[in-house]
Symmetry: C2
Subunit: 203 residues, 2 copies
Amino acid sequence: MPTEDNLRHAEKMARIKAARDRMMAGKQGEKGLIIVHTGKGKGKSSSGFGMILRCIAHEMPCAVVQFIKGSWDTGERRLLTGHFGDLCQFYAMGEGFTWETQDRERDIAAARAGWEKAKELIRDPRIRMVLLDEINIALRYDYLDLDEVLVFLRSEKQPMTHVVLTGRNARPELIELADLVTEMEQVKHPFRDGIKAQPGVEF
Amino acid sequence: MPTEDNLRHAEKMARIKAARDRMMAGKQGEKGLIIVHTGKGKGKSSSGFGMILRCIAHEMPCAVVQFIKGSWDTGERRLLTGHFGDLCQFYAMGEGFTWETQDRERDIAAARAGWEKAKELIRDPRIRMVLLDEINIALRYDYLDLDEVLVFLRSEKQPMTHVVLTGRNARPELIELADLVTEMEQVKHPFRDGIKAQPGVEF
């Protein structure tokens, strides 16, 4: 039998639900979003891949272009290419972090090749989400021309395609253009305690 | 032929790499981490699922317990149960947000059943990662006893098992206990512009 507390709770929640339903009734729009994940904390790429997997589950064709990672094996790549190659295209265009390659010209060439591939994918109306993993790094170091990227997203993105751009130090102009921006803030990180990058968590 | 700029860049990057290699050499530890994703921004659950998929790719057995979601279909659930049921156990124990159920006693019972399942999974040494999706909500509303959860994580978690706890308003005592904490800060959200929750992005 419901207690008095529970009845009060139910009444309060019914009021909250009514207010929420009214609010949500005003939100009927759908559009392809420009989504940015930035900040120093963890979760920028992994939540991008989480969204890619939601797309796959809904059978929405999608694609990933990795701008920095590429020369090493990652769980995401193995899983997506191994199991879902029909729904998700995967291009690992990076050559590693810039302190690994030690070759700025090669880094720039790799970033530009990644961007050419990205443009092709974003123009393709069949593709519903394109994840540009770590592109913010390439933009920050001017491996890619910021204005060119902004103009392209503004004028050539398919209206229903979501584009997700990840990486630290997102350019303010990109944040201005985006529809959905999350800053992953690092509160605590186990590297401080001598713990190395571990499978499942970091890659 | 490398330019002078490129040579200077290469030298600088070689110094950065040497410093980085020295730093990383000090990080050889491995352990099962307590990971918290909190904050008002997007990406808390999706990056949890991104890590679950990394585990699956590395063939690490893992599990998900959803504390709030449960009564509706999500892409994550469909994908994980449909494709990877052998590696990833999935328990949708929630009944929806508290303003949906309007029944505090039922919410509490659902949260406690979820926690009993979570304990069983976290005690199982074969399982390498357990995602407790939205458990922070259950802790915040006192559907679960915070001290019980903290004592359990401290004393009964398998040393190599990662436990990921998501949801807004993580309790400070949980943040204190955790190894890796990220606050997802909302910079911009398209609900403000009348855009509804969309497949691939939110579910």
